[in-house]
C-alpha cells in the first residue's frame, strides 16, 4: 500500500511504577483495515489503545495517528476519530435517539442519526431509554456514538467482553458493518474467535510485547506447523504429528489397506488460531 498508514507506532514504551506495561511495540495500521490487538488481560492492550486515543502519555517511542501525535492533537483531530471505551455507562435517562443527538451536536459533519441507529441494529429501540437496553444493545449504542461524528478511524477496546454468544454475534455484525463503510478499525480483544471473525490483520500482545503478527490465516506461521493426524485403532486413540502430511497419510493408508485396518475417525488438522494463541501466550 502506498498511502500513509493511519496508525504508526515505533518503539512504544510505557511504565507504571515498577511495572513496564508496554515494552517496545512497533506496528502500522493501513487505511480501511480492521486491525485486532489480541492478548490476555494485563498484556498492555488498553494502555496502548489509550495512548493512541490521547488519554495517556507514553514514556518513549514515536506514535502517529492520522498524521498527528495524539498527545498534542486538538479538536480537528478528534473530529476524525471515534472511541469505544472498555467500560463506559450511558446516561440512563436519555433515549437511544437522544444519546446520539447529544453526541451528533459535538461534531461539525455528523452522520444521520436514523442511519446510525440502523447501523447499530437498534431500529426498534430508538425511543427506549438507554437504561432499559440489554448489555449488547448498550454496546452497539456505544459503537453508534463513536460513529456519529463520521470518523475515519474507530477504536474499540474489548467490545464484547462478558457478552453471551448472541449479543456477541450481533455486536460483531455492527463492527463488520464498519468495514463496509470504509472505516479503519483498531480493535482490542482477548477472544481469538473475535479477531478471526473481524480482523484483516492481528497482532498478539503478551506482557507488553508483540509476539506474533499476521493475517488470522497465517498467524504464527500456522501453515508450516506440523499437522496432526488422528484415528482410532481397535478403540484406541492414535495421534501422529507430521511436517509432511501427504507422505505420512500415504504410508498410513497403504498399511491400512494391506492389513485391513479401518482407521476409524481419521482426521488431519492444522493447529487452530486458538492452539497458536495458547502456545504463544503460555510462554
Amino acid at each position: 500500500m502506498d498511502s500513509d498508514p493511519v496508525i504508526s507506532i515505533r518503539g512504544l514504551r510505557k511504565r507504571y511504577g515498577d511495572v513496564e506495561a508496554v515494552r517496545g511495540i512497533d506496528l502500522e495500521v493501513q487505511p480501511g483495515e480492521v486491525f485486532a490487538f489480541l492478548g490476555p488481560n494485563g498484556a498492555g492492550k488498553t494502555t496502548t489503545v489509550e495512548i493512541l486515543e490521547g488519554y495517556r502519555k507514553r514514556d518513549d517511542g514515536e506514535v502517529t495517528v492520522l498524521g498527528e501525535d495524539p498527545e498534542r492533537a486538538g479538536r480537528a483531530w478528534r473530529e476524525r476519530i471515534g472511541i469505544v471505551l472498555q467500560s463506559c455507562r450511558l446516561d440512563p435517562y436519555l433515549t437511544v435517539r437522544e444519546s446520539l443527538g447529544l453526541y451528533a451536536g459535538y461534531y461539525s459533519n455528523p452522520m444521520s442519526i436514523e442511519e446510525t441507529i440502523e447501523l447499530a441494529g437498534l431500529g426498534g429501540k430508538a425511543n427506549s431509554r438507554t437504561g432499559a437496553l440489554s448489555g449488547g444493545q448498550q454496546r452497539r449504542l456505544d459503537v453508534g456514538m463513536a460513529l456519529i461524528g463520521n470518523p475515519e478511524l474507530l477504536f474499540l477496546d474489548e467490545p464484547t467482553t462478558g457478552f453471551d454468544p448472541s449479543a456477541r454475534r450481533q455486536t460483531w455484525e455492527t463492527i463488520a458493518g464498519l468495514r463496509d463503510l470504509g472505516k479503519t478499525v483498531f480493535l482490542t480483544t482477548h477472544y481469538m474467535d473475535e479477531a478471526q471473525r473481524l480482523a484483516d490483520r492481528v497482532a498478539i500482545l503478551v506482557r507488553g510485547e508483540v509476539v506474533a503478527r499476521g493475517t488470522p490465516e497465517d498467524l504464527g506461521d500456522r501453515e508450516n506447523r506440523p499437522a496432526r493426524i488422528t484415528y482410532r485403532d481397535a478403540g484406541r486413540e492414535v495421534q501422529l504429528e507430521t511436517t509432511n502430511a501427504v507422505e505420512t497419510l500415504n504410508e498410513l493408508t497403504g498399511r491400512a489397506l494391506a492389513e485391513g485396518l479401518e482407521l476409524e475417525g481419521l482426521e488431519v488438522t492444522r493447529p487452530s488460531l486458538e492452539d497458536v494463541y495458547l502456545e504463544l501466550t503460555d510462554q
Binding site: 507504571y16 511504577g17 486515543e53 490521547g54 488519554y55 479538536r75 480537528a76 478528534r78 473530529e79 476519530i81 472511541i83 471505551l85 467500560s87 463506559c88 455507562r89 450511558l90 446516561d91 435517562y93 436519555l94 437522544e98 443527538g101 447529544l102 453526541y103 451536536g105 459535538y106 461534531y107 461539525s108 431509554r129 456514538m145 461524528g149
Partner: protein
C-alpha cells in the same frame, strides 16, 4: 455558546427524568417548607422586630434550595458521570471540556431560579408571605454570587468523593449539620451565640443572611456576607481547577 445550549438542553431532559434528582432538589425543599410552616406557623420569630415563622422559613428554604440545586446537584451528577466513564468519553470528542461543565452549571442555575420562584409562590399563596417585587435586583445579585460560589464548591467537592456510593453520604454529612447550625432549620434566635459564631466560618450562614436581608428586610445587598460566600467560591474554584478529574477512580494509575 450554541454548543453550551445544546448540552444544557440534554442535561435538562436527563435532570427532570431522574426521580432522585427531582425529589431531593425540588420536592424535598417544598416538603420541608410545609413541615416547618405547619409546626412553627403560629409563632413569631425574634429577628429584632419580630416576624412570622412562615416569613422566616420562606427565604431559609429558598437558600437551601439554591444550595441543593447548585452544590449538591453538581457534585452528585459529576461524580456519577465521572465514575460511569461519561466524562472520559466526552473528552474523546471534539467538544471542549468546559462546555460540559458549563452545561451542568447552566442546568443548576435554571433549577435554582425555578426553585426561587416556586418556593416564593408557595409562600405567597399558602402562607401570605409577600413576594418582594421591589427587591428583584438585590435578590438576583445575591442569587448570582451564591449560585456561582456553590457551583464552584460542588465541582471542588467531587475531588473528595471516591465513588458514586459515597457521594450522597459525603454531601449530606457536610450540608445537613451546616443547615442546622446556620439557622435554616432552626430559627437563629433559638440558637446559642456560639453556634452562630461557628456557622459564620462557612458560606451557608452568610448566603442565608444576605438572602434573608434582600427578601425580608428590604435592605441593600449585604456585600460583606456575599464577600465571604465569594471567597469560599474562589477557593472552591482553585481546588476544582487543580484537582478535578475526568476519569473514573479505577482508571488512574
Amino acid at each position: 455558546m450554541s454548543l453550551v445550549l445544546h448540552q444544557l438542553r440534554y442535561d435538562q431532559k436527563a435532570f427532570w427524568r431522574n426521580p432522585a434528582a427531582v425529589f431531593f432538589t425540588v420536592m424535598f425543599p417544598v416538603i420541608l417548607l410545609l413541615i416547618f410552616a405547619t409546626v412553627f406557623g403560629d409563632q413569631t420569630i425574634d429577628t429584632g422586630d419580630g416576624i412570622d415563622a412562615t416569613a422566616y422559613y420562606v427565604p431559609a428554604i429558598i437558600t437551601l434550595s439554591v444550595i441543593s440545586a447548585t452544590m449538591q446537584t453538581l457534585a452528585m451528577s459529576l461524580v456519577i458521570a465521572r465514575e460511569d466513564g461519561r466524562l472520559k468519553r466526552g473528552r474523546g470528542t471534539p467538544m471542549p471540556a468546559w462546555v460540559f461543565i458549563a452545561g451542568r452549571i447552566g442546568n443548576s442555575v435554571v433549577v435554582a431560579v425555578l426553585m426561587l420562584a416556586l418556593v416564593a409562590a408557595i409562600g405567597k399563596v399558602i402562607y401570605g408571605v409577600p413576594i418582594p417585587w421591589g427587591q428583584i435586583p438585590e435578590l438576583l445579585a445575591v442569587l448570582a454570587v451564591g449560585a456561582a460560589s456553590f457551583c464552584c464548591l460542588g465541582i471542588a467537592l467531587t475531588a473528595a468523593i471516591p465513588s458514586q456510593d459515597a457521594a450522597a453520604a459525603i454531601i449530606n454529612a457536610l450540608l445537613l449539620p451546616l443547615y442546622f447550625l446556620s439557622g435554616i432549620f432552626i430559627p437563629d434566635s433559638e440558637l446559642p451565640a456560639g453556634v452562630i459564631d461557628f456557622a459564620n466560618h462557612f458560606p451557608i450562614r452568610h448566603f442565608f443572611e444576605a438572602f434573608f436581608d434582600a427578601y425580608e428586610s428590604g435592605s441593600a445587598v449585604a456585600w460583606g456576607d456575599l464577600a465571604v460566600v465569594a471567597a469560599w467560591g474562589l477557593a472552591g474554584l482553585a481546588i476544582a481547577i487543580r484537582y478535578f478529574r475526568w476519569t473514573p477512580r479505577a482508571d488512574r494509575r
